[in-house]
Amino acid sequence: MNEIFSLAGANLLSPIILSFALGVGAALARSDLAIPEAVAKGMSIYLLFAIGFKGGVAVSSHGVDATMILSLFAGLVLSFGLPLLAFSLLRIMTGMTNTDAAAVAAHYGSISIVTFVAGTSILEGRMIESEGYLVAVAAVMEAPAILSALWLVARGGGGKRMEPELLREIMLNGSIVLLVGAFVIGALTGEKGLAEISPFIVTPFKGVLCLFLLDMGLIAGRGLRNIRGVLGAGAIGFAILMPLLGSIIGLGAGLLVGLSLGGVVLLMVLSASASYIAVPAAMRVALPEANPAIYLTLSLGVTFPFNLTLGIPLYLAMAQVAMGV
């Protein structure tokens, strides 16, 4: 436990986390500091491209094996399954409508790629290796949760059916296409390709991540300013409990599949994290009656900072205990 807090402490003093904190602080103090939308989108494109590419390169030198296939499959199952757990918890812990609960559940089955990147960064800082293909697992986990959520609503008599157009949009969501595409490019060009562009996608990566997290902090902080009106204690409790449960399930899945320590931690991070890009956009189309303030505030205002600061160190410690390393 001590170790967790000292790791969390070290983690909290990294420029990445402090940049996030600066953003939150600036937003809470109502500073007019803002990152232009186009720049923020540009940075997220950079991050997705870099992380996908590096994952692909790792796979190209390592090759495809059974654990990889199993991990992808585990990702699918987790993304389909976690919303069911989230939905049940929400029905117990909060008074949300069916639709709101389903929408929130979709977010927690899906993933946050920035939380994943932060996890990778922390592992690297501690010299813990991980399987490169977890990037592909992340991509696989983005969308299925949305289908589960729609099923939950339909089952509840919401009369929702999946338009094929929406399904296409979800599967061809820009961030999924970019992540998977960069992964494939990395896998095809391998170390040679990486050598060509690593001064762009590897060396400055952490610095870009700082500015990106500054922006995430600004957005999360603005969300937190409105938290009182929107969320009760039950919902906030959910946004802390769900990642913990998710990480435990991810831990089990990772052990079953036979991932390395780093791989297990990243699968835990994926399970624990909640989407705030692909899923919200899909929800506005598929479940317009759901209140965006609820799912965005929970996902980005509570769960994201929790994972970034306490969660990831905790998941690492849990995995170390479970794997006896």
Binding site: E37, A40, L218, Y276, P280, A281, R284, A293
Partner: protein, 102 residues
């Protein structure tokens, strides 16, 4: 210069719905539309600003000039998309040049 009566319909709607809306408009016989960016706004569903958007979807304004007699068809088409979503629809009387275009 010769001008012709027309209606100017302005629809503020969530960006993820843009394509659905413009498809519906085109199907209702509209010959053109213009999409403008929106920086922020406020309404029943609260205040928002583009820079404060997560996922940065935001809203857009779709402006549509049409012959007056087509207004009702257009509004019906727009309404199927807009009704359950965040957004507003307004209509003004306008004049256009080159009526053959509308």
């Amino acid at each position: 210069m010769q001008t012709h009566n027309a209606k100017r319909v302005e629809i503020v709607i969530e960006a993820p719905l843009e394509k659905r809306l413009t498809d519906a408009l085109m199907q209702s016989g509209v010959t053109g539309y213009t999409v403008l960016p929106v920086l922020g706004g406020s309404g029943r569903s609260g205040q928002w600003s583009r820079e404060g958007q997560i996922g940065r979807a935001g809203m857009v304004t779709v402006v549509c000039l049409i012959k007056p007699e087509r207004l009702d068809t257009l509004l019906d088409a727009a309404f199927t998309v807009v009704s359950k979503h965040i957004g507003v629809v307004s209509i003004t009387d306008a004049q256009v040049l080159r009526a053959e275009r509308f």
